[in-house]
Symmetry: C2
Subunit: 223 residues, 2 copies
């Protein structure tokens, strides 16, 4: 038996992690009550770096221009995506996590103080680019949406099941690239539904506009 | 001032995180001494889900068939990538982290027990698909390589600087898709070198074989 294989800290780590998660759950419930009081629908977008989350929000905001939309934009560093979305003329609160790998309920709570007076009807929260950690932290959202690009490979639902389990919808982005990659949207939709049978799946391209309408209809149906 | 904005747990979280990181550093130093004793070069591959890490290892192993190569394969769930690499006839140790977002030095230590008697000359460690958390955990590797696909967007070095800071090389994968995406490899190489001036950059496609040779030469130069 090798000395390095003791596991004392592991137990401590698990206890602390559980404490943090239960604190987060409490704050998330408070957020949810706050959102309900104001009548805002909150959509938490989760996906890898480069999955196309910001582009999806951009195209969605442009199309939903009859609604009051706001965004909380989470990034490990830089406020670039927040600035990009601000140029659409909508309110955007930037959360720079300083390298932290997910948003938590507290960060969202603080950011929403800057937005509540604007009474948005829909709030999009763009989580930090990461398919793992954000799945553990409820933010008080109405629904989580997984954003997965067709360039990422067909195995992602099985390798990252927790995010798919939490989600109500899966957006498959960049379908304009389907002719050049090995990715079968039907097959991936089926793999994802094995994990979460109620999952709604929206294959689309913000570049060509293909598939945007069903996604927009879905968002409107939440109001 | 809002009640939810207290930050007692945050301090605790930081202290525990620092404790975990210093334990990890100690174990990583032990790993490094072990690897040096055996004369194995250890390459830690870090990148988003779907960046092409497994495909890069696959193509690299096939090309370096005169060397003794082994792989430690980290995944949050499933052993699929490990099985895929085993079919190349090389020793592969699978680490399934159960949702944990990075490999740590202890996981690598345990996995390497299964490989040391095979006396590999190069050990590839495929980290969990995540551009954030793996950058905080040294594994005792000789070098870290960031794997970034050209479909992920040009802003990744600035948004995920820690991984680029740690790395000695950056592999830009899927360059066969460059005609269909907005991605300038020169520009991204420059952005990455602003963070880490010594970074070596290898644009390549395992699908067409373009750009593989300089990457293989680089790996051979480590021996």
């Amino acid at each position: 038996m090798c000395e390095s294989c003791g596991c004392g800290e592991r137990t401590l780590r698990i206890e602390v992690a559980e404490g943090l998660l239960s604190t987060n759950e409490r704050l998330a419930r408070e957020n949810r009550a706050w959102f309900e009081r104001l009548g805002v629908r909150v959509v938490n977008l989760v996906g890898s770096p480069g999955a196309g989350k910001t582009s999806l929000i951009e195209a969605t905001v442009k199309a939903l221009n009859d609604l009051r939309v706001a965004v909380i934009e989470g990034d490990p560093e830089t406020r670039r995506d927040a600035e990009r979305l601000s140029r659409l003329g909508i309110p955007v609160a930037a959360v720079t996590t300083g390298g932290v790998c997910h948003l938590d309920a507290r960060m969202v709570h603080r950011a929403f103080h800057a937005l509540e007076d604007l009474r948005p009807e829909i709030l999009f929260i763009e989580n930090v680019g990461n398919l793992l950690c954000p799945a553990d932290f409820s933010l008080g959202e109405d629904l989580t949406v997984v954003v997965l690009s067709v360039t990422e490979g067909e195995d992602k639902p099985e390798k990252y099941p927790q995010a798919f389990r939490r989600a109500r919808a899966l957006v498959l982005t960049k379908v304009d690239l389907l002719p050049y990659v090995d990715f079968d949207t039907e097959k991936v939709a089926e793999l994802a539904r094995r994990i979460n049978p109620a999952l709604k799946v929206f294959p689309l391209s913000v570049k060509t506009g293909e598939g945007l309408s069903p996604w927009l209809d879905f968002l409107r149906s939440l109001l």
